[in-house]
Amino acid sequence: MTIGSIPLRFKVEIDPELCMLCGRCVENCSYGVYRMEGDKIRVNSRNCVACHRCTAFCPRDAISIYEKPTDYRSHPVWTREIREAVFNQAKTGKIILAGMGNVLPYPMIFDRLLLDACQVTNPSIDPLREPMELRTYIGKKPIALSLKEYPNGDADLLTKLSPNLQIETPIMIGHMSYGAISLPAQQALAKAVSRIGTFMGTGEGGLHESLYPYQKNIIVQVASGRFGVDINYLERGAAIEIKIGQGAKPGIGGHLPGEKVCADVSCTRMIPEGSDAISPAPHHDIYSIEDLKQLVRSLKEATEWKKPVFVKIAAVHNAAAIAAGIARSSADAVVIDGFRGGTGAAPVVFRDHVGIPIEAAVASVDAKLRQQGIRNEVSIIASGGIRQSADVAKVICLGADAVYIGTSALVAMGCRVCGTCNRGQCAWGIATQKPELTKRLDPETNAVQVENLIHGWTLELAELMGAAGINSIESLRGNRDRLRGYMLDEGLLNVLDVKTMGA
């Protein structure tokens, strides 16, 4: 007896009273849900992924999509997802892959942290009339300055400063490769960051020549597959990031299937069209923390010590000790990617079960670096699950210098977090390389949306800081006094170094 088909995930209904048979749903759906038959639109709900492309373009709001229209017998242990995974593996005997980030309902630490505000004893600041300093510098800071002073009051700086990135708001866009996302999507992000005065990452997909005009706002990535990496690429980047790991799949490599390696993707990755792009789990020239130092220094030496080098790791149990090693490797920043980070495709077992939340990882990394007196050696960039300006403020209070956003920037371009990135059929033209789909994005319009999002968050951040009587992001960084835990356990409060509410 076969297992047969599993119950529908979504049910699509068209209200015949409202539908005017314009056919936009048929045109827009890239998953084959709709078809026109005579004077009727037929629906195949099984193909629906709830990406909402159809509802967004239906002029009459005639389409309704319902999740899980068929109930299983409810069971607290044998959830629908667990049962469906068993069905899948019983049929295939394979590892299950999926797109987007962690879907398990772990408690959100961010939502159990509360920010502070001034009342009476110290005045809050109105960002409308007072300057608020949101500009941040990413990179090494000298532990002390050595000056040569002259009798007339002039002074020369004798300390040699390391290159830093100047960002106008502590919000950057993380690494999403060309291949994982489309070229118009990358172009939109590049336009947005260059206008705001912040940065975006290339991911491990090389740098397409249409992004060269924005290269001074682009961080180029060197990952274990070394795709698209040559000296020209390294020299174009404003900074270089070594990717060791990723929050969505710590400890494993990546694998771009050959069908996504189209002519243009093959050109930027520098591999033949249609061939698989396999990124091994480790860098095979880094088997130790000493080897990491060698890779950091090789990149600096290749670019004549003019560029900051970042090292990105997934937030894992001993992230703090690893970050302390990174801080001693000549790296200029450590990027910590939490277990809620998104991805184009990851094994579900890794996405949902490996790694730790960004809040705990950043707090412990910051604490460890301070204990060892090396916090100035690296900036901390937090990524993976930053959803809103409050998360930015909270993670900075926990010790981060800046954040990377990923999913939220894609949502600003239309992404509905349907989690079907792996299929390469993205109806929004974001996670696909099919020309008929990627042309749905307009880099200019989408750039404005991404810019609006970061601008809005930056305004909110300034308001939050002002309310707390803080006029510089420097004074917010690591300022755990302005956080309180809301029903967090004592162990976690200790890790975060945050007091409970009321204390």
Binding site: R226, I231, I271, P272, D285, E301, A302, E304
Partner: protein
């Protein structure tokens, strides 16, 4: 073409000032650079450009020789440490001695000749694209995991001087492009997952002939017996070694 030679004494010189002096010499038009007393300096020629420039290294360079290099030729009179030609793009590295682990790691183009032996993971994740096809020739033997994850390019191991070219396992684990030629026979037990051994065709033999001749010329060896030898070819059993591991949610 006018040849301008610059000699650099690397005794007690850190790699950064050493590389700065190499860059400066090239910028000033040097076409031959001789570096004496090299002792463990890493990153020599890192990210260096300069078509037609020849650099002679007298001594033992440290790791990551010619990393990201794009153009010059480096001739080493001595052994090299790990990963010479790491992510190299263009140019030549000719080593009169042996080299360490991860020779030609992720190499994209150009060629590396090693007169004697190489360590573990030689040619790991080499790749090719369009006219860029990296070539590595090893005169002696290679340790385990040769050509692991190989995605493109050409590896040749000759087993000169009676050495067994390959006697350890994991050759071509995860190989999905490129090819490995080994003089003589390779025990099937040495092959990694996804690698397949097959006889060499006449066309393939003709393809490697000029490469072996060039290698032999660099070291003053008679190429005739090498070319006349039997070779085996190791390549990918499938272009998609991992495709059958996964299913979608």
């Amino acid at each position: 073409m006018k040849v301008t030679t610059v000699t650099i004494d690397a005794k007690d010189l850190h790699y950064t000032p050493l590389n700065q002096r190499i860059r400066k010499a090239i910028a000033e038009g040097a076409t031959k650079i001789v570096i004496n007393n090299v002792l463990g300096q890493r990153f020599i020629g890192d990210g260096l450009r300069g078509d037609g420039v020849e650099i002679t290294v007298n001594g033992v360079p440290g790791g990551d020789l010619a990393m990201f290099m794009s153009g010059p030729t480096i001739i080493v009179h001595g052994n090299a440490d790990h990963a010479p030609g790491n992510t190299m793009d263009k140019g030549r590295v000719i080593i009169h001695g042996s080299a360490g682990d991860a020779v030609a790691h992720s190499m994209r183009g150009g060629c590396i000749y090693v007169r004697d032996n190489i360590g573990y993971r030689g040619g790991i994740h080499m790749k090719q694209y369009m006219e860029k096809r990296p070539i590595v020739v090893v005169g002696g033997s290679a340790r385990a995991f040769l050509g692991e994850y190989m995605a493109g390019g050409l590896l040749i191991v000759l087993g000169l001087g009676g050495a067994t070219p390959i006697s350890e396992q994991g050759v071509g684990s995860g190989i999905h492009g490129g090819e490995i030629f080994v003089r003589g026979k390779v025990d099937d037990l040495c092959l990694g997952v996804g690698a397949k051994q097959m006889p060499v065709t006449d066309e393939q033999r003709a393809m490697i002939k000029p490469i072996i001749e060039d290698f032999a010329k660099c070291y003053g060896i008679d190429p005739a017996p090498l070319i006349a030898s039997e070779f085996t070819r190791i390549a990918a059993a499938s272009a998609r070694p991992f495709a059958s591991k996964y299913t979608w949610e």
